[in-house]
């Protein structure tokens, strides 16, 4: 596969924090329209890799290319403007705002925030606000959030909060969506809903998705390819069922047969 077909390309990405070597030369290639799974035991470097991609901290070694453009070392807000949106493992919603305002935040890159525009609201800001409200309502419709639209985000259940976070990311019209454990702490029903929403969004918006998840049933059900990380290194890569069945992966998760004694 040539580099031009790959939306996201990580080449030998390494990152360490003091003495902890969190990522050791990991390479990932995600093709346009794929749902790419990232799995591995706790502390294996999944979130570190995602943080490198979204610009929280630059990798010390290696390159990250998004649509052929080098993005490692760019500030998070620049990467966001470039078309990558993400959600967080621990819900990171703006707790002082309503659900609607949280999702409207996703439109930030398309709006022109400015104190003077706020002052002259009827003449300057109203049209833009309403135009983007219409866009946001499409996302609310897609993710079925109508009933909680006007609620404060901290009074709705966790499952819905995660969905609001997804809605916020989607309303930024990204070309690539990075989901960090979107189903952590959910029950079976909420999980099934979430999978449906991710698939719907991916299909209707033509997204490329990079997803970290611990639920293997989800990974095998929706991912096109999967990378298994352990201890900062790539253990196996390929279609999810094959990658997970790899003996090295089984060993990392459950331990070697010999260890049991």
């Amino acid at each position: 596969m040539s580099a031009s077909e790959n939306v996201l390309q990580c080449e030998n990405v390494s990152r360490w924090f003091g003495g902890i070597h969190a990522l050791k030369g990991v390479s990932v290639s995600v093709a346009q329209g794929q749902i790419y799974g990232l799995v591995g035991p706790n502390g294996s470097g999944k979130t570190t890799l995602v943080n490198c991609i979204t610009g929280f901290y630059p990798p010390q070694e290696g390159r990250i290319l998004f649509e052929g453009r080098q993005i490692n070392g760019m500030k998070p807000y620049r990467i966001a403007a470039g078309g990558i949106a993400r959600t967080f493992q621990n819900v990171a919603l703006f707790r002082g705002m309503s659900v609607l305002d949280n999702i409207l935040m996703g439109r930030h890159n398309f709006m022109h925030p400015n104190p003077l525009a706020s002052l002259f609201y009827p003449w300057w800001a109203r049209r833009e606000e309403i135009q983007h409200r219409e866009k946001v309502e499409e996302v609310i419709d897609l993710l079925q959030l109508e009933s909680v639209r006007d609620e404060h985000v901290d009074v709705i259940p966790l499952g819905l909060q995660k969905r609001v976070e997804l809605a916020r990311a989607l309303s930024a019209e990204p070309r690539m969506l990075v989901l960090d454990e979107p189903m952590a702490g959910m029950n079976q029903e909420e999980k099934e809903y979430m999978v449906r929403f991710i698939l719907d969004a991916q299909e209707s918006l033509g997204l490329t998705v990079l997803i970290i998840e611990h639920h293997m049933d989800v990974i095998t059900a929706i991912c096109d390819r999967t990378l298994v990380l352990n201890d900062g290194m790539a253990l196996a890569e390929g279609p999810p069922k094959e990658a997970i069945a790899d003996p090295a992966v089984v060993a990392a998760y459950i331990g070697r047969t010999g260890d049991a004694a």
């Binding site: 979204t54 610009g55 929280f56 500030k75 998070p76 807000y77 990467i79 966001a80 403007a81 949106a85 993400r86 967080f88 990171a92 919603l93 703006f94 707790r95 002082g96 705002m97 305002d101 409207l104 935040m105 996703g106 439109r107 930030h108 890159n109 709006m111 022109h112 925030p113 400015n114 104190p115 525009a117 706020s118 002052l119 609201y121 800001a125 109203r126 833009e128 606000e129 309403i130 983007h132 409200r133 219409e134 609620e151 404060h152 009074v155 916020r168 990311a169 930024a172």
Partner: protein
């Protein structure tokens, strides 16, 4: 305020995002505005000049600071210095022959520029360190004002504000000064409410609540913190000028000392961070408390209940501000605005017990 929501359905987004989406609420706000406009006819000049007008001006100041502290979440303990810059700039501009309208604008711009320069330096630090940096600004500005005779006219000097006209009307008698103060406060209030419903305000709140989440959605945190400093300092500067021309009618360095900064922080915290209603309640409460306290203690002193020195009397309000800030932070961090909101919601669903959110 108090109303019933039943029967109010919005069919357009513009109506849904109106400042007061419920008709009953709109009428109540209009009634309050009418009362404020009619105040010179309704109350004696003593009340107008020494209660209502300062309340309005300090509300504008509290709202200016609340934009920075409440919406953007950046602490500022030197806001009196910002107002001082506005007050002195306006007086000197008017003395140099600049029309009053432009002098007000100039006061805001000067305060905004200096405030932003300090902000840019201060924003490299967070939390307590930001408090220290803004405190440094307070003392620096105080020092410059006192020690540069060209600004203050000498260490103990009082600069009287010149006669001015606003849009052709003389700002001389109490009524005209009250209307100017009221107009500015209403404008600041409208601006504050509009900021909260537009993308600018959302970006500020996003930075306050979760700066890293704001960054991954495309907000440049530094840029917006700086914009918040700039906007808030502009409003503070103009408010300082309005305070000088309408209320004090003179400027001295003590009017904008460190105590005043603390008083402003108390107004914002007691009233409720990031709330427009809170600005009014906080400013009113903080202004009325020392008066009530002084009267109470004077009465007690006169009836031989307690013995208290003049010196102690002067410091009692400050002690009380401190106690109030601690009390509110402990028990009601969202201040009087939240207490008002809870009461309102209780009556909205009365006789039932539970209200949503």
């Amino acid at each position: 305020m108090f109303y019933r929501q039943s029967g109010v359905y919005h069919t357009r987004y513009a109506a849904d995002r109106a400042l007061w989406p419920i008709p009953a609420d709109r009428w109540q706000v209009l009634a309050l505005a009418a009362l404020a406009l009619a105040a010179p006819l309704l109350v004696s000049s003593l009340y107008l000049g020494s209660y209502l007008m300062p309340w309005m001006i300090w509300t504008a100041a509290a709202l200016s600071l609340s934009l920075l502290m409440g919406l953007a979440g950046q602490l500022h303990f030197g806001f009196a210095a910002v107002m001082a810059m506005g007050a002195y700039t306006s007086v000197h501009l008017v003395r140099a022959g600049v029309p009053f309208e432009l002098a007000l604008l100039g006061a805001g711009l000067f305060a905004a520029v200096i405030g932003t320069v300090f902000g840019a330096a201060a924003l490299r630090v967070k939390g307590l360190y930001l408090v220290m940096a803004t405190l440094a600004m307070q003392y620096l500005v105080d020092w410059v004002i006192v020690n540069v005779p060209a600004i203050s006219g000498g260490a103990q000097a009082t600069l009287r504000t010149p006669q001015v006209r606003f849009l052709g009307l003389p700002i001389q008698d109490l009524t005209s000064r009250y209307y100017l103060a009221l107009g500015w406060t209403l404008l600041v209030t409208l601006f504050f409410l509009n900021v909260k419903r537009t993308s600018f305000g959302r970006a500020l709140i996003a930075i306050r609540d979760k700066d890293f989440a704001a960054a991954v959605i495309g907000v440049d945190p530094f840029r917006y913190k700086l914009l918040a400093f700039m906007t808030s300092s502009f409003l503070g500067g103009v408010t300082g000028a309005v305070l000088a021309f309408c209320y004090y009618r003179a400027v001295t360095p003590e009017q904008f000392s460190f105590n005043v900064s603390i008083q402003l922080v108390a107004m914002v915290l007691v009233g409720g961070l990031g709330s427009a209603v809170g600005g009014y309640l906080g400013a009113g409460f903080v202004l009325i408390v020392p008066i009530v306290l002084t009267n109470l203690i004077a009465t007690l002193g006169a009836s031989q209940w307690i013995d208290i020195s003049q010196n102690m009397m002067a410091h009692l309000p400050l002690i009380f501000y401190g106690a109030m800030i601690i009390g509110f932070l402990l028990w009601e961090p969202l201040g009087l605005a939240k207490i008002y909101d809870n009461t309102r919601k209780y009556f909205l669903v009365w006789p039932f017990r539970h209200s949503r959110s």
